[in-house]
């Protein structure tokens, strides 16, 4: 999340990483915090949180399951994907890499990506920050030779430099027996694993059942756009998680944490299961605009409890999702997200003689009963409107002429809302056709109940 001031993360009073704005002021990783503050007085300094890093790494691993079913983790900062089985599906190494890079950017992470025939070699290339996509095992050894020994991350780095071994190539040139005696077998094993001479088994990452992710905002925010910006990163992660499970969801729970007030909870309900982050973001935007926040938001958490199977969809050539036919659930969701769930509904016939109960709200697309009614008006008044009476003739903008009727409707004694009415079709002075009734009670008042349009 971009912030106006330079930003850096520190560990034990030394800078660990800093953003581009901080780097522009001359801040570098490894610099003491006091020196950094002298260079950039407005620096926003955050202490390193290893728990949050682990959480993020797990999130990335779950998201990356969309590219392959076998993912392994190497804490604190490495995710390994076995992609040889996915090359054909995604169209090659470069396509997978582009997809990963795009997805990581959407989630707000920057990463070094590298591919190699062995897991160990790939991890070394990624650690060294060299962008290499090596598919051919024959080329591997040459590329490995150029890597610095720092990728080994072993304690004997100083020993290595003192004997003049600066790169992996230098190490490979040394006699194996002597190397093993001085630096131990593990180092030699690591080299062999990188070259594919020794097996390198990894524990597979298991996808969690539920999705939960949180993001802390760099600065407290109230504006929809700022909140949405952060939420989109979570939604991108969710999309990967759902794609990995070949699933979608109908219910998202977003909770916005405040400083003192209880968290604001926003629940997104969908008509049909969906996994696209862009669609979720669209709905969320409407909801955020309508939600009154008690305080500024400090952190956003996204939770999905239930998922359901959803087939992979083909990517559309044109981005406007609403152009496609048959996606009416999208329209309903979009309307509901702004107008509220109750404002958008369908209708259904009900087997009830009482006119006000013969037509009921229903979910759009719901199954319908086939029922036969007498002649009924297109419009029904929500509440019957009392009509004046002039010399026993009902009046609505002039006296009404009764054309047909009565149709006697007497029903509903069983639930207390019983009616006893005589319905007539009447013509008003202005030629409008109305549906009126007279109460079958001694008073016999007249009411307007419908309009034949």
């Amino acid at each position: 999340m971009p912030s106006p001031e330079p930003c850096a993360v520190a560990e034990r009073q030394r800078l660990l990483v800093c953003d581009a704005k901080a780097a522009a002021r001359g801040l570098r990783a490894g610099m003491p915090v006091s020196a950094a503050l002298a260079l950039a007085p407005g620096l926003r300094l955050r202490e390193r949180e290893t728990a949050a890093e682990t959480e993020a790494l797990l999130g990335i691993a779950a998201w990356a399951m969309q590219c392959t079913s076998s993912v392994a983790l190497e804490f604190p900062d490495l995710v390994l994907l076995e992609v040889s089985g996915s090359l054909k599906l995604f169209g090659g190494l470069a396509q997978i890499e582009a997809r990963l890079r795009q997805g990581l950017a959407a989630m707000g992470y920057s990463a070094h990506l590298a591919a190699a025939p062995t897991a160990r070699a790939a991890s070394w290339f990624a650690r060294s920050g060299r962008h290499r996509l090596i598919a051919d095992a024959a080329l591997l050894e040459n590329e490995l030779r150029a890597l610095p020994v720092s990728v080994l991350q072993c304690a004997e780095e100083e020993v290595l430099s003192s004997i003049g071994a600066g790169s992996i190539g230098d190490l490979l040139a040394l006699p194996r027996a002597g190397l093993a005696r001085r630096l131990g077998q593990p180092l030699l094993d690591a080299l062999d694993q990188a070259l594919g001479r020794l097996p390198d088994p990894r524990g597979a990452f298991v996808l969690p059942e539920k999705f939960g992710a949180a993001i802390e905002l760099p600065a407290e925010a109230t504006q929809t756009e700022a909140l949405l910006f952060a939420a989109q990163r979570l939604l991108a992660q969710l999309e990967g998680f759902l794609a990995a499970r070949a699933a979608g969801t109908r219910r998202l729970l977003l909770s916005l944490a405040h400083r003192a007030a209880p968290a604001t909870r926003i629940e997104l309900g969908l008509v049909a299961a969906c996994r696209e982050a862009a669609h979720f973001a669209l709905l969320l935007r409407e909801r955020l605009q309508q939600t009154a926040l008690p305080e500024a938001v400090r952190a956003i958490a996204l939770e999905v409890q239930a998922i359901e199977p959803l087939e992979h969809s083909n990517q559309s050539l044109f981005s406007d999702e609403l152009q496609q036919e048959g996606n009416w659930p999208r329209l309903i969701e979009r309307l509901r997200s702004r107008l509220g769930a109750a404002a958008v509904h369908g209708m259904a016939l009900c087997a009830d003689h009482r006119p006000e109960r013969a037509s009921a709200r229903a979910e759009p697309g719901a199954r319908q009963l086939a029922l036969d009614f007498e002649l009924r008006p297109f419009w029904l008044l929500e509440r019957p409107q009392a009509l004046e009476e002039m010399g026993s003739v009902p009046c609505h903008q002039g006296p009404l002429k009764l054309l047909a009727g009565p149709e006697r409707i007497e029903s509903g004694w069983w639930d207390g809302a019983d009616i006893a009415r005589d319905y007539f079709i009447a013509r008003a002075a202005n030629e409008a056709l109305l549906w009126v009734y007279r109460e079958r009670s001694p008073a016999g008042a007249w009411y307007l109940h419908g309009i034949f349009s």
Partner: protein, 241 residues
């Protein structure tokens, strides 16, 4: 030169001032042959705005849409009712042949919400028809709806009071409805192509209620009530509804 005349007739970009415009988007048949003949595209214009200006409510402004809406919903397209003035009544819609599963009703609190909802519905291809009852709408807003209808290709039917006839409109079709002796008079105030000066008279017997008089006989009528209208005139008039 007869050759030139036929060549011009076949050219899609040329139309004669005395003829109806040729429509790239075929219309949705209204179900009334007399009306279809006067509409470019042979029906309610698809992908364009239609304004319907009834003299007052209750004269058949929905009835004339029944066949077209039934056809669209039968094709699986949704019909969106945006901010209707009353409750659309399911038994009547079902009797008109409209598939109720394809009906979406949207209630709004503000005009701006109605326009937004109408625009959203028009832009999707899933909606075959959008019926809207805006209380007040400006030329710019009408233009927006017209563009949305063009994007989605659906019927955009706007119900406006008859006073709106004085205002200019970007709509492709504007029809005023009034009652006339024995039926409904439709005046086409604006259409693409030559103007039409005489109103189209739709007879009273066009309602989908052919079996009404027999049904009426089957129903018990209390002859002592004040509703003792002459049976003959009842069946004749009932067809209007």
């Amino acid at each position: 030169m007869p050759g030139l005349a036929t060549a011009l007739d076949q050219h899609p970009g040329v139309w004669r001032g005395s003829e109806l415009a040729r429509s790239a988007c075929p219309g949705v048949a209204t179900g009334f042959a007399a009306l279809d003949a006067e509409l470019p595209g042979g029906g309610w214009p698809g992908g364009a705005l239609t304004e319907i200006l009834p003299q007052h409510e209750g004269i058949g402004e929905l009835r004339i849409l029944g066949p077209a809406l039934a056809q669209l919903s039968g094709q699986g397209k949704f019909i969106a009712w945006i901010a209707p003035p009353y409750l659309p009544y399911a038994p009547a819609l079902a009797a008109a042949g409209i598939a109720l599963a394809r009906v979406v009703i949207v209630k709004t609190a503000k005009d701006s919400d109605s326009l937004w909802a109408a625009e959203q519905a028009l832009r999707t291809a899933a909606c075959g028809g959008v019926l809207a009852w805006p209380r007040r709408i400006s030329y710019t807003e009408l233009r927006r709806l017209q563009l949305a209808a063009e994007a989605g290709g659906s019927l955009a039917l706007l119900f406006r009071p008859s006073e709106a006839a004085r205002e200019p409109t970007p709509a492709a079709l504007r029809i005023a409805l009034a009652t006339a002796a024995g039926g409904l008079a439709l005046s086409i105030l604006k259409r693409r192509g030559a103007p039409l000066t005489r109103p189209i008279l739709l007879p009273a017997s066009l309602a989908p209620a052919s079996g009404l008089s027999s049904r009426h006989d089957a129903h018990a009528v209390d002859s002592t009530t004040s509703a003792a209208a002459a049976a003959g005139s009842v069946s004749a008039r009932l067809a209007l509804a």
